[in-house]
Symmetry: C2
Subunit: 218 residues, 2 copies
């Protein structure tokens, strides 16, 4: 399958590496055609790894993954182009973290809106699913790095798009029963708003390699 | 030990019941002296259960628990009186849930502030610890209702107050190693902001009796 990845940071490259390792074809997209990180990634990725602009990546992918920061996601997707996203599964992995000069981290949007919702509103023909934004990148594509079962979340308006996302997560190593469906795309608020806890836990645990599992009454 | 509980809802009554069952003495505090729920609770609670105003409860308790809704917490604690809170451990269990007429639930404050922080700012002589606000009331005082180990969080500026909170949680059945210290009182933002996820999970699971446990790399 062909994937377009919007964003060349750690998340984008980790997803791109995994997809190539799984035998898929990937275009890693950045703002400019000659982004150094993207060129370096494509050079070592083998024949199934390509790089280009956001528009190149979105046009190439049968599925598009948004791996930009949440505060720049809409701008990047506008550059990708609504017509290249229409009808496609668009997995939004972003979090709208805002870093103040004093080192405080807050979210924008938050509470009454989310990046996931904004993307779905602005690109109504894309089939947006929020996923994977509650984990550090290495765990996204290799859940076996932690012992036992643990969970992640999906949220979106399109049931078929969520089923395709569960299948993709399955390729990454996530059993279907580990994926909790939070309902419509407004559920993106819930997972984006876990970021403050995630950051505090990273401080408490001294590692980003942790995750949640849920217990419920039997 | 003597406890004052601010708020007569399910959380306040559940905490009050447990404390009495553990052999402590409790005054359940409400806005007015003749609150029906508080009178009914005290009638069945036995000789160690009392009721009165917010001020009565705060004056009675060596430890004070805030079990009001987060949007009315400051008002209730003002009625309790800063002088009756000074020097005491004040465990804040509240969440600032705002319910719109359309049924949407949001938080106020959120993101750049929290109820826990507001309480600590307004009552600087109280030793505020945020705790227990990430669970349904029955689980707060009976973690064994869920199988295996699971976690909760504390946040506060006073290390001794946090140690006293861990000891109290131990009486409720929480092993010390299940309590994750998120750092200073600004960590209250992190746990209050879990509410949107908690609400979505209640919908997904069909029960409020669930909780998180954390896995980390070994």
């Amino acid at each position: 399958m062909r994937f377009g990845i919007i964003g060349t940071g750690q998340v984008g490259q980790t997803l791109a590496d995994k997809l190539v390792a799984l035998g898929h074809e990937v275009t890693l997209g950045s703002r400019s055609k000659d982004n150094e990180k993207a060129v370096a990634w494509a050079r070592q990725a083998g024949p199934n790894g390509h790089q280009g602009t956001f528009a190149d990546a979105a046009g190439f992918g049968q599925v598009v993954l948004n791996a930009t920061g949440g505060t720049v996601a809409l701008e990047a997707l506008r550059a990708a182009g609504a017509e290249r996203l229409a009808g496609k599964l668009l997995v939004d992995v972003s979090n709208p973290l805002v870093f103040s000069p004093e080192g405080e981290v807050t979210l924008d949007p938050v509470n009454t809106d989310s990046v996931g919702e904004r993307i779905q509103r602005e690109f109504p023909d894309a089939r947006v699913v929020k996923a994977l934004n509650t984990l550090t990148a290495p765990l996204m594509v290799d859940p076996g790095r932690l012992p036992g079962g643990h969970n992640l979340f999906i949220a979106g308006n399109d049931a078929a798009a969520k089923a395709e996302t569960v299948a993709l997560l399955g390729e990454f190593g996530w059993p279907a029963e580990s994926v909790i469906d939070l309902g419509d795309i407004a559920g993106a608020r819930a997972t984006e708003m876990m970021m403050p806890l995630w950051l505090r836990l990273m401080g408490a645990f001294g590692t980003a390699e942790f995750n949640y599992s849920f217990k419920r009454a039997e």
